[in-house]
């Protein structure tokens, strides 16, 4: 409960801060539209040469794109800025200020930063999803919608855990700036359903960098491909990841020496 209250407080402050710079909204909107246009052109190009890709039809690939944009917006809005700030705080010793606060450090470092204008991407993703579902011409039942929502939540949590695991490495390695670029590069693989990639790549994109769980699995939920086994497996994997992340975070904190002692 405290975690949610903290998130809401930081969210309000962060939003108030960024809402001052209204032009940034239009800049972000422009960038999101260009990215969307590029994605749609890519899709159109693919479908000028074929009618389906690895068993996925055009509206189904649009669903994948919608989830990809939506999830990307969430990551850029909340997960990435927090992890970037955590990396910097560890490097400069400013993490001390967070550790002395009366709330759990992991919660604090995960909710502090919010980039409110990235919600443009979240909205664009939802719009694309809406259009795609409409084009699918198959009514989405209640169970499917629920499975989709659950899969999205699990995917988001897994991406968060993955990011935090990597960033916790900064307690030992200190300089991890290039990780952000690396992740952004690998995340682009989520634009297409991971089932089309060769086996070794698919495994890497499922268990090494959980792009599959973040994008393909929710898309599968909406396009009638999701089996209960996969969803339960995702839930189990999420739980495991959360436990490991928590443990690793506590180990990292013990290795932290800070700047003020």
């Amino acid at each position: 409960m405290t975690a949610l209250k903290l998130f809401w407080s930081y969210f309000r402050v962060g939003a108030m801060n960024e809402l001052q710079y209204r032009v940034n909204f239009f800049v972000q909107l422009f960038q999101s539209l260009i990215a969307l246009a590029t994605g749609l052109i890519g899709l159109a190009l693919v479908f000028s040469h074929t009618t389906e890709l690895g068993g996925w039809s055009r509206p189904e690939l649009l669903v994948v794109m919608g989830v990809h944009i939506f999830m990307g917006g969430l990551i850029q809005m909340s997960i990435q800025p927090n992890m970037a700030r955590l990396m910097e705080d560890i490097r400069e010793g400013a993490l001390d200020y967070t550790l002395t606060k009366p709330a759990d450090a992991q919660v604090l470092v995960s909710v502090r930063e919010v980039r409110i204008w990235q919600t443009v991407d979240v909205v664009v993703g939802l719009i694309v999803l809406g259009v795609a579902v409409y084009q699918l011409q198959v009514s989405v039942g209640l169970w499917q919608a629920l499975a989709f929502a659950v899969a999205l939540c699990l995917g988001a949590i897994m991406v968060y855990c993955f990011w935090l695991l990597l960033t916790t490495g900064a307690f030992w390695v200190v300089r991890m700036d290039n990780l952000i670029e690396l992740f952004q590069g690998v995340y682009q693989a989520g634009r297409w359903p991971v089932t089309i990639y060769p086996d070794w790549l698919r495994t890497g994109l499922t268990f090494l960098v959980p792009v599959a769980f973040a994008v393909t699995v929710p898309a599968e939920a909406l396009t009638n491909r999701l089996t209960p086994t996969t969803l339960l497996g995702a839930a189990a994997f999420t739980l495991g990841l959360l436990i490991v992340t928590r443990w690793f975070w506590r180990r990292g904190l013990r290795a932290y020496s800070g700047a003020s002692a």
Binding site: V27, Q31, H49, T50, Q188
Partner: protein, 270 residues
């Protein structure tokens, strides 16, 4: 004659400095290069899948040829990396530009020679990655000696074209700081018209004709196709000629815009 020798000496010295400097950060460079591989690998897999579904080839490319295209892509992409146009705002604001203007040499020489030296480090670091990609994706690659020679020249031509183009973009910072919209638009056009997203033969006809009149293709798609495709010697040399043309046009444009920009540039200091 003396001036030419001095310039060549400057280039050599700056390139050696760049190599020594950038080689220190090879681990960070590797992280960056590995992250960059994601993009061509994704394109490669998508188009190989389509080629497989369409009975073996699409747009004249078999999966093996797609693999060759996108593996060479990684080298050309690295050769394409030059001083970011976003960096100009930093140069102007931080006062670096003032220092550069005080020196007797045009700052363009500094950028060209520094990044050229860096490219040698990049090429060296790229070789292991190329081997791994070769083993993983089994490309169909058997170029002739002429193709290899032309390719070796073409990648430097591509580097120079892109230097001119991105310098032109960056110089817009002399007049406004709200440049991200223009830059993003440029990068998107470049992505589609250069052969970076897909080989140009997969684009609709009108896009291919348009690409012939623009410089983007000669900075990216042409070098790749010179090595990976089956061009005639005439086509190879015509491409090199077009590269030279765009380098000259670019350099003239840079000189014009640079003069206009510096004329209305002011800086404050002691």
């Amino acid at each position: 004659m003396n001036a030419f020798k001095a310039l060549a000496d400057f280039y050599l010295t700056n390139m050696k400095t760049a190599i020594a400097c950038e080689f220190q950060y090879r681990v960070a460079q590797y992280f960056y290069m590995i992250g960059m591989i994601a993009e061509p690998v994704i394109y490669l897999v998508v188009w190989s899948t389509i080629a497989g579904a369409q009975g073996g080839s699409v747009g004249g490319y078999t999966p093996g040829q797609f693999a060759a295209y996108y593996i060479v892509w990684t080298l050309v992409r690295n050769m394409n990396i030059v001083f970011t146009p976003y960096g100009w705002e930093w140069r102007i604001r931080q006062g670096q530009l003032t220092g550069m203007l005080m020196r007797p040499l045009h700052p363009l020489h500094y950028d060209i020679s520094w990044f050229a030296g860096w490219k040698f480090v990049v090429i060296l670091l790229w070789l292991p990655i190329a081997v791994v990609l070769y083993l993983a994706f089994q490309p169909t690659l058997n170029p002739s000696w002429l193709q290899i020679a032309v390719f070796a020249v073409a990648i430097w031509g591509a580097y120079l074209i892109r230097t001119m183009l991105l310098w032109l973009l960056g110089l817009i910072s002399f007049w406004t700081t709200r440049v991200s919209a223009i830059f993003e638009l440029y990068f998107t056009l470049e992505l589609l018209l250069s052969g970076r997203l897909v080989p140009l033969s997969l684009m609709p006809e009108w896009v291919q004709s348009l690409a012939n009149f623009l410089p983007f293709k000669y900075a990216f798609g042409y070098p790749i196709e010179a090595l990976v495709g089956q061009p005639t010697p005439v086509q190879l040399f015509a491409g090199l000629g077009m590269q030279l043309f765009w380098i000259v046009v670019g350099a003239l444009a840079v000189q014009l815009v640079w003069r206009a920009g510096v004329k209305q540039f002011t800086s404050v200091g002691n």
